[in-house]
Each structure stands twice: as C-alpha cells, then as structure tokens.
Amino acid sequence: MTEIASSQQTRATVAVKRGLAEMLKGGVIMDVVDAEQAKIAEDAGACAVMALERVPSDIRRDGGVARMSDPEMIEGIQAAVTIPVMAKARIGHFAEAQILQSLEVDYIDESEVLTPADERHHIDKWAFEVPFVCGATNLGEALRRISEGACMIRSKGEAGTGNIVEAVRHLRSILGDIAKITQADSAELFEWAKQLQAPLGLVQEIHDTGELPVPMFCAGGIATPADASLVMQLGAQAVFVGSGIFKSENPSLMAKAVVEATTNFADPSVLVKVSRGLGKSMAGLEIAGLEQTFADRGW
C-alpha cells in the first residue's frame, strides 16, 4: 500500500483516507457535469460534488460506452468550488484512476455507472494515494471492495432511475447481514466468510464492532427529500444524489431540500416543509422495464 512518509508527516494512510469519508457524513454528494451545476450544488449546501460527463439517466438513455470525464471539465469544476470534488473511473480501469489521482481529485468512485473495463478485476486501490469509494449490493461485495482498499462504501441502487427500491434492497441486505454477524458465534464466522466470499478478518471485525470498517453511504435512485430521509433512517450515513437533482424541474430548490432533509432526516416537521412546492421530481423508471441494470456490474 502507498503510504508516503517524510520525516515529519505521513500521507495517504488509511486514517487519512477514511477520515475524509468521516467528514462527509450527514451530507449530500451531488452529481454535476459542469462548473455551473457544481456552483448550484455548493450553494445548496452539498458537502462534495461528483464530476461526471453525463448524469446516469442520460447514460442510460444515450447508451454507448461511458468513460471517465474529460480532465478539463474536472479542472473547471475544481476551480469553481471549494468543497471536495470526486470523479468516476470505470471498474478495473486503473489508468483512468491514475489520471484522476494526478488531477488531485479528492475521492475516486470506481463506478458501475460507467462501462466496466475489466470483467474480473477491480482496481487495486491500495496502490493509490487518493481514496476510493465503491458501490455494493450486498455485504460480500462491500467487504471485497474494502479488502481491495476502498475507504467508503455506497449502496449501488439503480442509478439514473429515480427509483429508490434497489438502494433500499442493498442497504437492508448489507445492514441486515451486519446485524446477523454481530449475533453469530465465533465458529459461524468462518461460514459467513465463505458465504460472503469475503476475508475472514473483516467478518471478525464486523462481529466485534457491529459496523463496516468504513463509512457507508447510499446512492442510486434518490429523487426526493423523502427518499433521502428514508435511506438515512435505514442507516445510511450520507447520500449521493445523481440525476435526482439536475433532472428535476427546479434543481436549486431540489438540491437545498435534499440537503435539509438529510440533516433533519428523522424530523417530519422539517421534511414536510422542504418537500412542499418543489416542482416536478425527475421522471422515474420501473426496474423491471430496464434494458440494462448497472448494479450487476461488479465482481
């Protein structure tokens, strides 16, 4: 793993990488495709932005191969805002990740929303100084990503659908299995590791601490303040909103409302206030009608 030590300081440590994820808790990370959207996101109180070429619903609509964004676009966004800027690399595409690291993005999302570059291998994330977030649909996937060096896990959901049902399934699956492992006896942990296809050490760690070793956020299908509240109440520690903001009728208003709903996720009096008069949310899609599901990408 890539720790950079000088006589006085050490960079790129696990504490430093997971530390930034700690700082993003309770916040909203918004997908943006240009500097103007990034400003709207920052103005609304986003705790970070995710720079990408097209929001997931457009990727879904247009088809074709979805890749890392143009460095010029990412630099434009970095110049426009003061909050952390994340960017997506294709699954297994370590060269894209190297380019993103060299741009000094604050987090790299090895994302199923882009077209995978490798059908067997994810990026060895320990080899990078910049931290990584990865999607997961279940606990086994989450732990495999953590063993590869991911410092933040997000549910995959089904990006670009505006339909929260998949994210809820993934959160419940991950948190449900964590709860069961906490109750398991030491002999059962070996079986859990086998079933999950995950390293035993991480399963034992979950048994002892009752939580993932890295922060767990929710992504994929959040389209309203109520969606943000739902996933936060289910146990997500922060939310990613992709198409839900900039595919809604009034992005600035929607962005502010989702930020307020995420902070006050358990307070219906705030939720009703921020949900009022937002205009149209993004048009949603039924999962059964999808030609391509992104959540299946990842191994």
């Binding site: 003061t82 006050n264 307070d267």
Partner: protein, 215 residues
C-alpha cells in the same frame, strides 16, 4: 454537539469514553440546557448554510459570545474564526476567535496527513487528572508519570485542513506544526485544525472538559 453535518459521532464516541453526556443540536430548541458546544469537522460551507436555514446562527453566536465553552475542530474552527481566507463570499462564521484561517490551506485530500505534534505544557496548567472522570490518555503506558504523559507527542490527523495563518495577541497557541499553530485557546474557546476525535488519544478532549469544569 452541532449535528448539521460532519463527524459529530466521532466526537460523541470519544466524550462517551470520558464519561461525558452529549446531545445533538439540529434545531434552536436543542440548545436549551447545554453546558458547552462542539463544532465538529465536516464541510464548513454546508454547516454555514444549514446554520442559517435552521435558525441556529444567531442563538449559537450569542451563546458563544456570552461565554459558552466552545471547541471547534477543522470546519468547526473555520466557523469560529474572525477571518476566513479562500472561503465563499456568503459564508457565515461566528467570528468569535481572533484567528485568520485559510480553508484547505494545506491543499486537497492528497495532501491530508498524519503527524506527531507536541502539546504545550501550559495547556495543562491545572492538575488535569484530578479534575476529570475516566481519564485514559492512550499513550505513555503503565508507570508513565503525569508530566511525561502530558509531554508525550499527540498523533494528529489532518484532513483537507484549514491553516491558522494568524492568531490574535490574546490567543494562546497550544500546539504547532511546521510553523503554523494547530491548536489554540482563548478564554473558554478552543480550536484545532486537526481531528482529535479521530485519534485514540483523549487528551485534547480532556483539556476541553477541564475548560468546561473551570467555567
């Protein structure tokens, strides 16, 4: 504990270890009956906007100006500073500490780091151990005397940290790293550019509890 966004749970965990009860503040009503306030790390622009939206900006500012012991870490320190460099034009701070901070003054995430800092002996002007419940420093080991324990280096984690570029004459510097202050105190107010809540060493939080007790 201000809980609009950020790493407030990490502070809560550490204070619970020290036997201190905490509550989360998201609405003005949550402010009643508090003895002290922690402004946690997170994104200062997010917190700043949510302070205004949640109508907490005025009442919290008044409480701090009236002497409520307050500890800000990283983004929390930015909120306390009298001057914010490289911030947003509309960023609201409380301006309660004579301190000039530069947001992300050490650079982006790739420059985030861990290092050893030394806490000034003056920080522990009072017999700390006697005043505090459940004190464990996490360093020093058995047999370490009080003085050497206080003098042991503190392992500090800096995340996209603000840099304290100027401190006022009434502000006491409790720790420095590479020529810049990283932990400062003035009266009942303390600010850190690093994250003591991410450490296992509880001394900085103990120091804040001692300040509350003295208050």
């Amino acid at each position: 504990m201000l809980a609009l966004q950020g790493a407030f749970h990490a502070h809560q965990r550490m204070l619970a270890e020290l036997g201190c009860a905490t509550s989360l503040i998201r609405q003005p009503a949550d402010l009643s009956g508090i003895d002290a306030l922690i402004l946690p790390g997170g994104e200062s622009t997010t917190m700043s906007r949510m302070l205004v939206v949640s109508e907490l900006y005025e009442p919290i500012g008044e409480l701090i100006r009236n002497g409520l012991p307050t500890f800000g870490t990283c983004a929390g320190a930015i909120l306390m500073a009298s001057k914010i460099l490289d911030g947003r034009a509309d960023q609201h701070g409380f301006g309660v500490l004579d301190l000039e901070v530069r947001r992300n003054g050490y650079g982006r995430q790739i420059a985030s780091m861990e290092c050893e800092i030394t806490l000034a002996a003056s920080a522990f002007g009072s017999p700390l151990e006697a005043e505090l419940p459940g004190s464990s420093t996490g360093v020093g080991g058995s047999g370490a005397g009080e003085v050497s324990r206080h003098g042991a280096p503190f392992h500090a984690v800096f995340i996209r940290a603000p840099r304290f570029e100027r401190v006022g004459p009434t502000v006491e510097i409790l720790a420095e790293f590479e020529d810049f202050p990283v932990l400062v105190r003035s009266g009942a107010k303390m600010a850190a550019s690093f994250h003591p809540e991410l450490a296992t060493d509880t001394r900085v939080h103990q120091l804040f509890l001692a300040m509350i007790a003295k208050n």
